[in-house]
Amino acid sequence: MKPFEVTESPIDPQKYADYVLHTGAGAVTLFTGHVREWTHGVRTVYLAYEAYVPMAEKKLAQIGEEMEAKWPGIRTAIAHRIGELHLSDIAVVIAVSSPHRKAAYEANEYAIERIKELVPIWKKEIWEDGQEWQGAQKKYPDKGADAQ
């Protein structure tokens, strides 16, 4: 298992939680992002995710390094699925372990915000009557105030 990976296979979140757990960890936070049926009143039939895979995996690992620098003592694993995803499928999983709970929550939320800013992955929403690529980030997300 790679701790920072883009995969075409269904995601088993427990695998990532197990990866970050160790005897120094008192808290593990596991975030999973799922395909939701309704967005802004429009019904999603399915989503299609696409990635620039080698760069996306590098950027996930970079986010992990940022996290471990900001919250010393945590361990992190992140995976993002690509391809066709249907209702309730997991698109992304973020696992963080920490000696204490506060860092586990904060670092986990930081990870999903950073993923949405800088990891080259794209989502197309497919509705009953149309489809559209999503995305509207800052032009230079990597150089923003949050970047380390």
């Binding site: 992002g33 995710y49 696409e50 990635a51 620039y52 080698p54 760069m55 996306a56 590098k58 993002h80 698109a91 992304v92 999903i112 993923i115 949405k116 800013e117 800088l118 990891v119 080259p120 992955i121 794209w122 989502k123 197309k124 690529w133 999503q134 995305g135 509207a136 980030q137 032009k139 230079y140 997300p141 990597d142 150089k143």
Partner: protein
């Protein structure tokens, strides 16, 4: 020769996932200008360029053999 990759909306617009640009060197801004000229509607002001899997700035130089990618606004997660 510079290799360029297209994703998402840009892949559909270009009708291809990758191609090569026959230049020895050019800046990131010149590559974006080339893309806008080649593919009307490219929308270069909202597109970033990655050079060898790292985000690059408009003035950065691209050399033959580099692997580039056009990165439209991301929407992972």
């Amino acid at each position: 020769m510079i290799r360029v990759n297209y994703f998402a909306r840009l892949r559909e617009l270009a009708g291809k996932g990758q191609e090569t640009v026959d230049r020895e060197e050019m800046t990131v801004q010149e590559l974006l200008d080339w893309a806008e000229d080649t593919y009307p509607g490219f929308g270069k002001d909202d597109v970033q360029v990655a050079v060898n899997e790292e985000y690059a700035l408009p003035g950065d130089l691209i050399r033959s053999g580099d692997e580039c990618a056009f990165i439209p606004p991301v929407s992972g997660g």
